[in-house]
């Protein structure tokens, strides 16, 4: 266990080192940070003075060594735009992203497990076919399109008059497709509860939860179909296995077989994929956060790129790298708990 953690921590350092080197190497291609810091009419002389002050004129190696020296002491530099330490800026934005990911994960867990299991047990039922059909559509629609459609339907609202409104059924269909709107379409709302440190939560107020609805659904829409299909496929395979047949022969109730014995083994690969996907979800939040003006790290990162806020870009990439390593480590640990036959460090059992 200890050896495993030590190995992972050194891996994390390696990952972050590589990321920082790459980020530094490409920073010239990210544009000139001064463009966002000064007005157009500021003279070249003044610009040069600011560049000198920021140390942008030093050779790349000097800049990197200075950065690495500070980084080892936990200082990843100051954001040009926020005029604050980059880690502080990320800490301020991270809770919003985490809450969005939690919201989306809850939707995924509570929908994908029952739907996936149902579709595995009753593959021929029309409801299963319906879910499978919808999930194919869901997986192929890009998240920003989903988001825009959701905003139009549930935030702005649409009035439908495709059907003749003088007939009963026409009126009913019109009403059926007409939506009221009213759900918030941007931001996290005014009423956030302060938990600790920089964490302000939207989970404890009505408006906070309302603001979470559309972004979470959009973000979940990407992963949900994948998980439904994964759970369905795994479950179907498990249901074919011998021990399930024995359990049936033994006369165990269907519920106990399906939800205790079969589901447990179904979840093994799901957890692995899930852990990786949560990391990927952090990347997907960039799109979702942009569309919903969700003040999380994804939006912050995108804006840092348009502003060439290089220290913030580098720090963000390093933090995301760390998150990937940490989630993967956690996944491996949980895997060990669920399936005790798996050995962490790969030694022979």
């Amino acid at each position: 266990m200890l050896a495993f953690l030590v190995q992972r921590i050194s891996q994390a350092f390696l990952v972050m080192f590589v990321i920082s080197v790459i980020a530094f190497a490409i920073q010239d291609g990210l544009g000139d940070p001064l463009q966002e810091m000064v007005g157009m009419s500021v003279s070249e002389e003044e610009r040069e003075a600011i560049r000198e002050e920021l140390g942008l004129n030093d050779p790349m190696v000097v800049q990197y060594l200075r950065f690495a020296g500070n980084a080892l002491q936990g200082d990843l530099g100051n954001s040009y735009f926020y005029s604050k330490p980059t880690l502080e800026v990320i800490a301020e934005h991270l809770p919003a992203t985490l809450e969005l990911v939690i919201g989306a994960s809850l939707i995924i867990v509570f929908l994908s497990v029952p739907i996936g299991v149902y579709a595995a047990i009753r593959p021929q039922a029309w409801l299963s076919k319906f879910f499978m059909g919808v999930s194919t559509v869901g997986i192929s629609i890009p998240v920003f399109l989903t988001a825009i459609v959701l905003i139009q339907l549930f935030s702005i609202g649409v009035t439908v008059n495709w059907f003749p409104s003088d007939t009963g059924w026409g009126q009913w269909l019109n009403d059926f497709f007409t939506t009221e709107g009213g759900l918030p379409s941007y931001g996290r709302g005014d009423e956030l509860t302060h938990l600790f440190g920089t964490w302000e939560s939207g989970f404890f107020t009505g408006t906070g939860l309302m603001h979470l609805v559309l972004p979470s659904v959009s973000l979940a829409s990407i992963m949900l179909p994948l998980f439904i299909r994964l759970i369905r496929a795994e479950m179907m395979e498990v249901l074919q296995s011998d021990y399930i047949r024995y359990a049936r022969a033994k006369g165990l109730s269907a519920g106990r077989i399906n939800f205790l014995h079969a589901l447990k083994n179904t979840m093994l690969p799901v957890i692995t994929v899930g852990g990786v996907q949560i990391g990927i979800m952090v990347a997907y939040t960039i799109l979702t956060e942009t569309v919903f003006q969700w003040p999380g790290v994804g939006l912050m990162f995108l804006e840092a790129i348009t502003r060439s806020d290089i220290p913030l870009i580098v720090a963000y990439l390093m933090v995301v790298g760390l998150i990937f390593v940490v989630t993967n480590t956690l996944v491996d640990l949980i895997y060990g708990l669920v399936n005790p036959t798996v050995k962490l460090t790969g030694k022979k059992a």
Partner: protein
């Protein structure tokens, strides 16, 4: 019930008018811009966002009216003492947010600080100093006669000298201006303006509250609280308005103009803007561009009206010069000269009938539809056999390329900080000179010392009619010479809910005077 009370209070206040109209400032305004102010220090950066903040939390000595005239604000009146001196009388009894009273000492403090500011010092270069006569009288002195003295005075938003002097707890000078890192002024402000900043979370929201002791009791403004949310994504900003999440948005993307115009709850205001979009033809890189006939051929080949109508969806005013209407240099007689036959003829005369190949660069997220405009221009040039190799880049990468003059034709948009024609020429068509900094954005390397001399002469001409004639001649000569390819002035658009009466507070400079905003 709440509405009823508000209406009742409102009618009571109206009955008691004109005493303290601002006392009924009870409405809340939620607004969404594409960005929030980067700092609270109004001298740290010269940008639209900061000027907007300046007008909300400070007041200028005088400000532009919607027809490009001046109206007195903190300066009650002004008179020219001699060629180089203008005397201002300051309004009495004006209070800063801190409670301090405004005097000429504050104006002097502000003026000196502006001279230090990296972004503003260029604008204040013609000024040699400020003479304080008494607590409410001062003179601005220029080193030469300066016709734009009043234009520049619109940038003087007096700061609370007492508030910005001294040292912070950790021993830093409070008045210092820094481009990066935390200064006292970048996080705290005290002005004379209609609003104070009550909460600020950078990139997320800024909250403003009406200042109780605001001096301008005649202001009809009735907004007590403003919440500004930056929403960068165009679609989201428009959705926020249409779904009722916010009351006021700017800018409005051209693609959504129709949608907002057709919405029964929304109110759209558009205005012809003053930002010129143009292409430079680099004579240093392309031999053919040295030939005026080739440049004219290009000018004839470009269909400005087509671009404004088709690509900009009518959201632009086709241009054949840099000065927009209302500027002194605006020359009525110059109109777009689209004529492909004439263009081909000119190419033939210049000996380039078979054309040539050039490179072109344009940003793709800086101006409205910038990349599409560049594509259209490239297609139009193909008709006179100029083959264009086009590259469009995000602005962060584009400007370094621009500074390197990395392509034969490059796009730029320019807004004159002084709201005056001469500013265009100084930056875009003056002979490039690294030492003096003139022609800093002249990516065409066009150089005509005669024109430069004429502009310099106009810059010390205080007879405004004479000056206008000189600047119009400059425009004419640049046009005849086809020094650059003007495309259009980008329009401005704002949208609000029906009950927000934005029209009276909007202006072509694009800083709405929100202190005077009335919400029904």
């Amino acid at each position: 019930m709440k509405k009823l009370i508000a209406a009742f209070v409102g009618s009571m206040a109206l009955a008691a008018a004109p005493v303290a109209l601002s006392a009924e400032a009870t409405k809340e305004l939620k607004m969404a811009y594409d960005a929030d102010p980067v700092t609270l220090d109004i001298h740290e950066q010269l940008s639209g966002g900061i000027l907007q903040l300046s007008h909300m939390t400070f007041d200028p000595l005088l400000r532009w009216t919607s027809d490009l005239g001046f109206e007195p604000r903190l300066a009650e009146s002004w008179e020219r003492v001699d060629e180089n001196t203008m005397r201002f009388k300051l309004r009495e009894g004006v209070k800063f947010h801190s409670g301090n009273e405004l005097t000429t000492a504050d104006v002097k403090f502000t003026f000196d600080r502006l001279k230090q500011s990296q972004d503003f010092k260029a604008i204040f270069k013609p000024f040699s100093g400020i003479n304080v006569i008494d607590d409410y009288t001062f003179e601005l002195v220029t080193s030469e006669p300066y016709p734009l003295l009043l234009n520049t005075a619109t940038y003087i938003f007096p700061l609370d000298s007492e508030f910005y002097s001294g040292q912070t707890e950790d021993g830093k000078d409070k008045s210092v201006i820094t481009k990066h890192g935390n200064s006292f002024a970048s996080g705290n402000l005290s002005g004379t303006g209609p609003y104070t900043v009550t909460e600020r979370k950078q990139g997320v929201r800024v909250e403003f509250e009406r200042f109780d002791d605001y001096w301008d009791t005649q202001s009809p403004g009735n907004v007590g609280k403003i919440v500004l949310t930056p929403i960068k994504e165009n679609n989201t900003r428009v959705s926020a308005l249409l779904s009722g999440g916010v009351d006021f948005i700017a800018p409005v993307p051209p693609n959504d103009l129709e949608r907002i115009r057709n919405d029964k709850n929304a109110n759209l205001v558009t205005m012809s803007g003053t930002r010129i979009i143009l292409f430079h033809m680099n004579q240093e890189r392309v031999e053919a561009f040295k030939n005026p006939k080739v440049r004219q051929a290009i000018a004839y080949a470009i269909n400005q009206e087509g671009i404004a109508a088709k690509i900009m969806k009518g959201f632009a005013t086709p241009a054949a010069q840099m000065s927009p209407a209302g500027y002194q240099g605006h020359n009525e007689s110059l109109t777009p000269r689209f004529d492909v036959a004439k263009a081909q003829q000119l190419m033939k005369e210049a000996g380039y009938e078979d054309g040539f190949t050039i490179t072109m660069m344009a940003p793709n997220n800086r101006y409205v539809n910038d990349d599409k405009i560049a594509q259209a221009v490239a297609a139009m040039l193909a008709r006179i056999n100029i083959k264009v190799d086009l590259k469009t880049l995000p602005k962060a990468q584009y400007w370094p390329e621009y500074d390197n003059r990395a392509a034969d034709m490059m796009m730029i948009g320019w807004h004159a900080d002084t709201e005056d024609s001469a500013n265009f020429y100084e930056f875009l068509t003056f002979c490039p000179d690294a030492d003096s900094g003139s022609g800093q954005y002249n990516a065409g390397n066009y150089c005509n010392p005669e024109i430069d001399a004429l502009v310099q002469e106009a810059n010390v001409e205080t007879d405004l009619d004479k000056r206008a004639a000189m600047l119009q001649e400059v425009e004419q000569r640049l046009y005849d010479d086809a020094a650059f390819v003007p495309l259009h002035w980008q329009d401005l658009a704002w949208a609000s809910k029906k009950n927000v009466n934005i029209e009276p507070v909007l202006n072509v400079m694009n800083f709405p005077y929100l202190g005077d905003l009335v919400v029904e």
